[in-house]
Amino acid sequence: MTQQRIDPVAWLAAPAAAYFLVVLGLPLALLLAASFRTGDGIGLAHYARILGDPFERGVILATLRYAALVTLACAVFGYVYAYAMARASAAVQALLLVAIVLPMTVSVIVKTFGWTILLRSNGPVNSALLAIGAIDEPLRLLFTETGLVFGTASILLPYMVLPVFAVLRQIPPEQHDAAATLGAAPVEAFIRVVLPLTLPGVIAGVAIVFSMTVSAYVIPSLLTGAGYKTLSKAIANAFLVIYNPGLGAAAGVILLAIAMAIVMAAGAAAARLGRTA
């Protein structure tokens, strides 16, 4: 039996691996250990409290619902945007790319405060709806789930657009033309040819947007204050307000498990698509 030698080039990853072990692995291990620490010793009391209490379970469900709605909004609007960008002329494509990338250079706090202006009773959204006669009196959008979902989706949209666009631009336009030549209507050609080929990009976008939403703290804090409960707010509350670090650590582990499950499921789906492609 011959012993397989490690490629010496692989050692180049060692410094980065060591760095992540210290700055990510170690804190996560400490977080995990803290989540089992109770007043009496070691146990699952914090997990039992979170998973056994209808209020705390409601917080987890609200977080998942929030992340799912934002991901759906990003997938719908992001796909259309990426498709338009891929089909546009070089000049328009560059313009659309700048329009989606440039906001990423602005602080999330600034963008979120901007949304509080947009969503006010006399803000542009309500003014526009009143002007076109869609509503008779201003809607309440601030501190609501609707405002939160659209605000978050607009901030995270680039993370959906970019991976979808990266896949879309690799699809030769001839494939769409070939489908048309074979008798497929434009919609059918899109559904049966373009959409399946772009699914790896959509899956990547879904994984990124869902993970970022499920762990978002600043955006929901600024757009909904203390009214809309999410896991990340519950973690901050446990550490900073009710002084129960064990509970906060357990909530953190649950949040991490949800994010990891989504990323792994997305990875598995992408791998399956890769095999069937």
Binding site: F55, T116, R120, L142, G225, A226, N237, V241, I242
Partner: protein, 346 residues
């Protein structure tokens, strides 16, 4: 020229790198420096007007870290064995918790001579912390939206404020005063007795929910909406912010409710085993001197602790505001926060 590593060059590089890494701490050890943890909202005034004269007079550099009281408490807890903060400024109930956990050390007139000149009521637990100023807590309102003002606490339960109140979350200290007001309105008892009628307070607070635009955990969130008129009023807001902004021409004001205003003492303390204890004492002393005490009154419109400072018209003396039983608040607040989340902010 290409860099060719050999043992001597690598040794030289290592020494240089070690020196570069160690330099900040060496410099810090030579220059006297203290770290002060205080409210984020006061950071501008502290950095512009309070700290510079102290640094010039003492030669001690002050690093001011602005944050919420709860965050400052957590810093003290996590740095308990090797504190980096020398002085901490927090709300009284949080200060009480820090005192109970032996995170503070008492100041005395030997190191802080101004303690002998301020009002005795400003010194808590034999100098464990000092109430260096007392902001007044009442209802902040937008003067364009509510031109007639707000006469009483009871008014914010009225239908004219439907969907127009920004209410602080229980994690913000002034909310315990709103709970006391709610208990007072529910039971008819004076604040002194009503503050212990917690169940009645929560029941009455539930009735305010239709009037709530949002529950906030960051003051600036509510302040922005109030100043722009999206929110008509913020119950339990403090003079330091409202009256300072009013003096700058912003259309907001702080009412004087018929039922009475609350005191929300700002406290300062020495950190137990904190670095540069003499510098820390000198800084606390500076905070109690007449020029700085005058600053609290003229710039923040808070009641000063020094009797030699004329607070001026419109500033209620601390003894004419209701001061809650902070020991009771400190003990019960974590439970109230959880209850608030489930019953009021849900």
């Amino acid at each position: 020229m290409m860099f060719r590593p050999n043992r001597r060059r690598l040794l030289g590089l290592g020494t240089a790198a070690a020196a570069a890494l160690a330099a900040p701490s060496l410099v810090r050890a030579q220059a006297r420096e203290i770290v002060v943890g205080g409210p984020a909202g006061m950071a501008g005034l502290m950095r512009d007007e309070v700290i510079p004269p102290f640094e010039r007079a003492s030669g001690i550099r002050v690093l001011y870290e602005g944050s919420r009281s709860a965050v400052n408490l957590q810093k003290l807890q996590t740095q308990k064995d090797r504190p980096q903060l020398s002085v901490v400024m927090m709300d009284e109930d949080i200060m009480m918790r820090a005192g109970n956990e032996q995170l503070l050390t008492a100041a005395a007139t030997a190191g802080v001579p101004e303690m002998g000149r301020i009002m005795p009521a400003s010194i808590a637990r034999d100098g464990l912390w000092i109430r260096y100023k007392t902001p007044r807590s009442a209802i902040a309102y937008n003067t364009r939206r509510v031109p007639g003002g707000i006469a009483s606490w009871a008014a914010v339960w009225g239908p004219e404020f439907r969907g127009r109140l920004m209410v602080p979350h229980m994690s913000i200290t002034s909310t315990v005063q709103l709970l006391c007001v709610a208990a007072h309105l529910a039971t008819g008892k004076p604040f002194q007795e009503a503050q212990y009628e917690v169940d009645a307070g929560f029941r009455k607070l539930r009735e305010i929910k239709p009037n709530v635009l949002g529950f906030y955990t960051a003051g600036q969130q509510a302040q922005t909406l109030l100043e722009q008129g999206e929110a008509f009023a913020v119950p339990a807001e403090i003079s330091s912010y409202v009256l300072m902004r009013k003096s700058e021409g912003v259309p907001i004001d702080l009412n004087t409710p018929t039922e009475g205003s609350f005191a929300l003492p700002s406290a300062i303390a020495l950190v137990n085993r904190g670095p540069q204890q003499d510098g820390a004492q000198a800084f606390v002393n500076h905070m109690l001197t007449v020029p700085i005490q005058r600053l609290w009154a003229t710039r923040l419109f808070d009641s000063p602790a020094h009797p030699g400072v004329d607070a001026g018209p419109g500033i209620l003396p601390a003894d004419r505001m209701f001061n809650m039983d902070w020991e009771f608040v400190s003990t019960n607040r974590p439970a109230w926060i959880q209850r608030f989340d489930r019953e009021i902010a849900a």
